[in-house]
């Protein structure tokens, strides 16, 4: 349980489009296999940036990311894409689904990209949507679904290729409390299956479930005493 599946070394990200923004500074981080971890912190302080870097969606300005001892920051773009397709599932903050496709098709696309046959795609996609409680919405388009339902489709899709790690960016950000509770239940189930889950969130409820909380301020990890001051929940590792 305690050997890390994700590890970062002095992870730094500087955006330089017009003016310089240091979004992440010297972040050293370990996420144990099978854990449920939360990334918390104020808006604009680098939470999404961190999630993107450990998910191999972006390259750091300096520092390293290891995933199962593979140095993500050293592999080619194509290899990185393969790793994303097989090992990682994403649920993004704002926009997740392709609007022209039905819920079922959205889940299928992820499997199509991994080269899975059409028959298997259909079966498995239906199964996953059932798992997230959307068995009656298979043919619905994203614009016919509520925000919570869309997030659940996104979770189903993230699980499509049976990834080891699920990365979520404020999945409950704009959900009512009932939807949020449902979402938490899903997340709990997924984590119980042994998958490593990393969630960026502001939600105390999510933080309650977490075994580890990573608190970020101004692109830096906040440790020890400071954490206790700033978190009402405290760290529970």
């Amino acid at each position: 349980m305690n050997n890390p599946i994700i590890r970062t070394e002095k992870l730094t990200k500087v955006y330089d489009s017009g003016y310089r923004t240091v979004a992440l500074q010297q972040v050293d981080l370990q996420i144990p296999k099978g854990s449920l971890s939360c990334i918390m912190g104020p808006s604009g302080h680098g939470k999404s940036t961190l999630l993107h870097l450990i998910g191999g969606l972006d390259r750091p300005s300096s520092g390293k990311v290891f995933l199962d001892d593979v140095e993500l920051t050293a592999v080619t773009a194509d290899r990185l894409t393969e790793i994303r397709a097989r090992k990682l599932g994403f649920v993004f903050q704002f926009f997740n689904l392709l609007p022209v496709l039905t819920a079922l098709e959205n889940v299928q696309v992820a499997m199509m990209l991994a080269g899975i046959s059409k028959r298997e795609q259909e079966e498995r996609a239906a199964e996953l949507l059932k798992l997230v409680g959307l068995e009656d919405k298979l043919r619905a388009r994203p614009n016919q679904l509520s925000g919570g339902q869309r997030q659940r489709v996104a979770i189903a899709r993230a699980l499509a290729n049976d990834p080891e790690i699920l990365l979520m960016d404020e999945p409950s950000g704009n959900l009512d409390s009932r939807s949020e509770a449902e979402l938490l239940e899903q997340i709990g189930k997924v984590n119980a299956q042994g998958k490593t889950v990393v969630i960026v969130t502001h939600s105390e409820k999510v933080a309650e479930m977490a075994q580890q909380i990573i608190y970020i301020r101004d692109g830096q990890l906040v440790l020890g005493k400071e954490i206790k001051e700033q978190l009402t929940m405290g760290e529970r590792v």
Binding site: D78, A110, M112, K118
Partner: protein, 385 residues
């Protein structure tokens, strides 16, 4: 889910944009198909007509332009310009036979019909005409009629017809020969000259030579005895084809402009689509689409426009040339097209060429946008609300 289904869902998501982009490429391809099908019909028809003449040399008055030379092949009315004296001098030369033509026009039931003055016996032998009905008599009171005209105007041997106020009897109907010779009234040469008051002039002279290898020698000889222009049938064919070619170039320009416009239409559509879908591209990349996949996906979309637009264009093009052919046929330049059968309703070669071209052009139009698409970074595409 497969890549084609995804492509299809993507290109049809904006119905009106899909329709307009498709129309643009369809118009371009339709004009190309029209050009190709009319053009190829035109050329075969010209070659056929050149054969109909059956002569090795054509003697025309000096100073005729290529426009009038075309008319030699099409059987249009021509100014009469070579005096009989020259005809006789040329005919008297060793090793060749001369057939003077006086091409005029008369009317049957208010429709123009070519009337050609010929030397009856010589011409019959030269053309190897057979009689279908009646007898082959051409003189002051008798004419013969080609089978096509006879059929069209329901004429039979023994019928009377009026030419310039004078009555003629149809002595016979020629057997069908399957070319333009079927579409004329033939009159004795001298009678026609008198009737049309052209003095002792002829329009042009077809010449058949005994020894085809000495053609240059005959040309010189003819030009020694008469002040005329002499061209071989090959030269004539060449100059006529050159003119048709220049008409063709103009059409080609139209097709090229249409296709160029369609090309930029597709570039524009694809750029817009990529801008609108940059987030979706980010999502696709995040869930495992390689740059190569994104590139092919968009290239496929634009090629798809080419395939669909091409199919529509081919159909429209053939339909259009089918309907346009008779009208174009009334133009002197393209009078060869008089008969519709020279334009094919469907031609597999042209279809294939047009479709391949259409797909290639569209795919090419998609290259730059598709490259832009796969350069997008997944993060930038999904980061903002």
């Amino acid at each position: 889910m497969n890549y084609f289904k995804l492509t299809w869902k993507n290109i049809t998501r904006r119905k009106s944009r899909f329709f307009f982009t498709l129309s643009a490429i369809a118009v371009g391809i339709a004009s190309l198909v029209t050009l190709l099908s009319l053009g190829s019909g035109l050329e075969t028809e010209i070659r056929k007509q050149a054969d109909v003449l059956g002569a090795n040399l054509v003697v025309t008055p000096r100073g005729w332009c290529a426009y009038e030379q075309i008319s030699v092949l099409t059987g249009e009315t021509l100014p009469e310009a070579i005096p009989n004296a020259d005809v006789e001098k040329i005919a008297a030369l060793e090793g060749l036979t001369a057939f003077p033509y006086l091409t005029q026009r008369t009317a049957l039931k208010n429709q123009p019909v070519p009337l050609i003055g010929i030397l009856p016996t010589a011409m019959k032998q030269f053309k190897n005409w057979q009689i279908d009905q009646g007898r082959y008599v051409l003189d002051k009171a008798n004419v013969v009629v080609g089978s096509g005209i006879a059929k069209q105007f329901e004429l039979a041997s023994g019928d009377l017809l009026r030419v310039r106020g004078q009555e003629f009897s149809i002595s016979g109907i020629l057997q069908e020969v399957g070319n333009r010779d079927d579409l004329a009234i033939y009159m004795d040469f001298a009678t026609a000259q008198k009737l049309y008051a052209v003095g002792d002039k002829v329009s042009f002279i077809a010449v058949k030579v005994d020894d085809i290898t000495r053609i240059d020698h005959y040309i010189l000889q003819i030009q020694e005895v008469a002040n005329v222009e002499v061209s071989s049938d090959k030269q004539l064919l060449k100059s006529v084809l050159a003119i048709v070619g220049s008409v063709g170039s103009a059409l080609k320009l139209v097709a090229a402009v249409a296709i160029l416009a369609a090309f930029f239409g597709i570039v524009n559509t694809m750029m817009t689509a990529i801008y609108e879908r940059r987030r979706e591209i980010g999502i696709l990349q995040a869930i495992g689409a390689k740059k190569r996949t994104i590139f092919s996906l968009f290239l496929c979309e634009s090629a798809c426009y080419g395939l669909l637009g091409g199919i529509v264009g081919v159909v429209v093009g053939f339909v259009f040339s089918w309907f346009a052919a008779p009208y174009i046929g009334q133009n002197e330049f393209t009078a060869f097209l008089g008969s519709e059968q020279s334009v094919q309703l469907f031609n597999a070669g042209i279809t294939l060429k047009a479709l391949v071209f259409s797909v290639l052009v569209s795919a090419l139009a998609g290259v730059y946008p598709a490259r832009q698409a796969c350069k997008l970074s997944p993060v930038e595409a999904i980061s903002y609300e």
